[in-house]
Subunit: 249 residues, 6 copies
């Protein structure tokens, strides 16, 4: 039995609220247990300079924790004049994850700005951000599609993320903060609905891990990803990615 009563291979309760704010083209408030992230996707009708004239678009992410998302108040980046290293690492990860399932040529010369602001952190904020941001991106793309239909629908796959780890020699799915802080091995998995890997980051800073352990962790993670992708489908009321001109609102 885990700290919060879950089984080893049990993901926390997932809740996603679409259209959370009224301005963003895609806006999802995602809760995974006590971890709460607001994911807004904005559409800018301009690609970044390095893509100008190529016909391709881009997806860029920014990740930030509100100062009191954690037990101790965290000083804002602007007060230190530096982006927190951890935030930088995470926002690069979110950007790569979303780009991996989007056909940037089909998207056209646009930028999708993905803002993940953590309201409350209890472990797994990076994976939660990815899972929620995907849904917000679907909403933003579909909103675009309704007014200016894409020739090729730009999203190729669902993508979601979860964490796994080894705590007290037990392999656990979806670590909460208390588990995460005791974990010897910590791994983030990002996968598509077809079961292939988009990104895999495993760290054994406290204690290196074996190939066998890796295999078990991957099995556990695949289980979690499936549940997360099902949750995405449920909230979007879609079984497959949207290709018509009617569809979900």
């Amino acid at each position: 039995m885990r700290i919060d009563g879950r089984k080893k291979d049990q993901i926390r309760h997932i809740n996603m609220t679409r259209h959370y704010t009224k301005y963003a083209e895609g806006s999802v408030y995602i809760e995974v247990g006590d971890t709460k992230v607001l994911c807004n996707v904005s559409v800018e009708e301009k690609a970044p300079p390095f893509l100008k004239g190529t016909g391709e678009g881009w997806i860029t992410a920014e990740y930030n924790m509100l100062p009191r998302a954690t037990g101790n108040r965290k000083v804002r980046d602007i007060a230190r004049l530096k982006v927190d290293g951890r935030s930088m690492e995470i926002q690069r990860l979110i950007g790569r994850a979303l780009r991996s399932v989007v056909d940037l040529k089909a998207l056209g010369e646009r930028t999708l700005w993905v803002d993940c602001d953590v309201i409350q952190a209890d472990g797994g904020t990076r994976t939660t951000s990815i899972s929620g941001a995907f849904v917000a991106m679907v909403d933003a793309i579909n909103k675009l599609h309704r007014t200016k239909p894409f020739k090729v629908y730009p999203i190729r796959n669902f993508v979601a993320a979860t964490s796994v780890g080894i705590v007290d020699n037990e392999k656990l799915l979806d670590l909460c903060y208390e588990e995460d802080s005791k974990a010897k091995v910590d791994m983030n998995l990002i996968m598509t609905d077809e079961g292939s890997f988009v990104e895999l980051q495993g760290t054994g800073e406290e204690s290196p891990f074996s190939r066998t352990e890796l295999d078990e962790l991957l099995n556990l993670g695949e289980k979690g990803i499936k549940q997360m992708i099902q949750a995405q489908k449920d909230v979007l009321k879609m079984d497959s990615l949207w290709i018509g001109t009617g569809g979900n609102k």
Copy 2:
């Protein structure tokens, strides 16, 4: 009849949710119409350097809009390496407003960090922040009081804020964004439950205003403040500031 169907002297619907996040000592999510602000108050058991050894405490505020709180995505301060001038002005105002009703000697050598993060902006974010932050501050102070009772209860008065303005020659209470952007005169009022002024800021950038107009605006504002203070009392389930050792939770 106003854009959103209100009467000239009618404030928007107010909703406050206490204990919104689980870590902050005081945490209030305040909604005034479509303006939504998360106000977290954190207690640090240390005064800022300029008060060290004086026995006095301090209250400092930070105000920030999430990038997509508005119709167009706003670049984060850290990306420009500069605090937005408007945010700077507002956070100084919030700090002054809260300090005006607190006995800093009674507070003792502590710092209250007040974080106002705007989730969605539709006019009046600065006044909404002050009204919500006051309630979060009461919760934080009372939490402290339960474990380390104050000899003198440090909060002297309720304080709340609202805006008034002149739009198309009509004096209006509590402007929404659309009204605010057409206003010739714009005034923010911060008052206590005893009806005295803590701060008064009126600007006629588009068109200077007369003393008679000022008087009418003040009348209108006083009305709004009263409603806001009643809402604070309701959500706190308190008629007067807490002085016992039992009391609200």
Copy 3:
């Protein structure tokens, strides 16, 4: 009798020197008692990006204290890599005050840069800056007018500012630093020569104030503004704003 021998409703000695530096289009060195500010206005033949193509111009202000304008040496902003919050607040105020009396369409696609550098501070630096910067702006506009006459003369009104406050229960006009630091209530008034308000900022951080007190302070302030505007007229050798093609030098 006040600290410096003045009556309660007496403004300090005002001195303005026009054409103080040889390069700026408008350059005024203003002294109000021991407060000394150099106000330079520069004309740039380009509007800021957000006004490009609209035919309108803009006025923007920067306010800064030299490090030893005060009793203790103040660290330069660049050494901390941050604009001082108070300076930010003040420069926004100066900009709004000057724009309130200028027809930005008549100004045309230009930017007026207003630099207020405080050489010595003894209370009232923000109001002194506004009063001096107005005169510098008149000189800059008139210089432009002599070579490229405006169809509509862009300045609509004189504008000046002063401070009032409550010190030891006395209402006083034009506080010096020593009075300001003991004031319970502190108010800045910006008014036109027609007696209407451009901006009004009253703060009772130490002790909230009543509507009656507000009224008395406004009366006192109006008196001071009139004297300041007369001083502006005297130094400009103009009774009304310049509309001919001849005129003052």
Copy 4:
């Protein structure tokens, strides 16, 4: 046959020069093919603030590319006032990798500063940095050990890194820049001499990868790591980590 004539599972030529600069406690110039990195390790007899009084030490890394390490000149971080996101990500990786094989309690309240400055980049700069920095760290630790012997020798294992990837459907070991820029899947492996994983980062931004592909890449990577660790042993003239008081110079 690969671009540079190597076999698929062949690592590039490795060359390490110890004691490259005369001041640093550990200084290694590592060349892997045309990738050249200077790795300096400095010992500071003070732990960072968050470890003060715990008896534990810390290892922190900084990674930087000289402006012309690449085909196009890269603007220095200081000119943009921002640490490059990629550099931030890499230096955090280097830090974790080295800490994973060090007993920080045994190290004592000290900080090891690891500077990896890339002189020339041709793919694999992060893995090259880790492999070279490990050797520099051994030299720095051993230098310390000779004057103030450790009770417990703080380094537990050799650690080295390499990259693998899928290019034109071929799994390749140790990608050079040209291969890396065409890779569909890119993976960095950090392993100890006991064959366990310290960190594993695989990215299929261009095209997600399957579990089977993952397995093949891991096999390939393990091969490369073994060669790299052998090279470390050769240059250090050590077969196992140093525990005596005599030993290598």
Copy 5:
């Protein structure tokens, strides 16, 4: 005959006003022709960290041009978040010049902050700053001396600076801006009242210069320095550096 009617070896009109601002321990407004610099010296009773406990003091300078000291408005450093390279070079020069004539041991563990703010620039702002700052420093030291007499008077020599250059093949003393911008060779000389060199900086960016030319420029410069030092003595009403406990005010 030169642009402004001077002879080749004639320095511009020098004017120094002592006690220009009321707060700084030493405050001199120096005018050399149309170049005008406010030099304030502040005394801090604390040495910088690197001198703590050594019994020695330090002198540090900051140099800054007000935005409209020049023909075109110069963007403030804080707006670019970077100290201007030229300012940095100059303030280091001012610091070295003043330290060269002060016995830092005799000064004791104190810091003298020298602020040189250029009000109007017309060539020679760095040399003017040094000459004026010296006088302000004497005032600051003497003020200290009157309350806490030094055992050894810390200032050993007068120091002053001037510029010389080659314009249209003529060697000229004390270049104004127009001459400076046409100069092929430009040299700044800092010398003591004993005729020895403190610093010598000659630049032939436009055209290298010969040893003979150097000699002629040095002769010309020595002449200018003598006049500047005489001006310092006149304004200080001192023929030699102050050593009594009475003396100049």
Copy 6:
């Protein structure tokens, strides 16, 4: 006899390696004794904004010390968000030195970026940077010349630099760090192969110097410059600057 066994007028051993990195258009690794600097010159086919449309080019330098180039680890500029004042001063010097021997009109609208990164510092890093950067610039210019021949070859003269100083009353050529830190007078000389001065910077911060001393130091410096220019000619295998279309590689 000096610390390192040299005679008073003896320069340290000079070694220059051309084509040190493979990407830069000019790349020289210069060693003067234990001082080691990597000088890379990059060609950008664009002039800076202030030269746009003039047909002229520009040369700009950046100087930086690696953190462990010195006995104590130096914090990177980016960690302090400020360019080190000394680096700023030096890079401006390097830029002026190289521009002084180049015909910027003949260069055409291009920018040469000169990066001097100090790998190991043992005195004279600025003069070493200039001497090495000149050779790298010749290589970059000649590379350009081979593909797009210049009508007028843009380099007019060889330029090199050395330091001289007074240590324990002895005049010494080319100070190493230990000598430099004891020097009473320190002078940097930059001269062309024709024996004229490009820049001359002498500082007697510890003790002012006389004209006679200056003369002796200049004699000593001229000697050192000649040797350095001979070393440049040797490594470039050129006796005079290249004007043909064949020539050195």
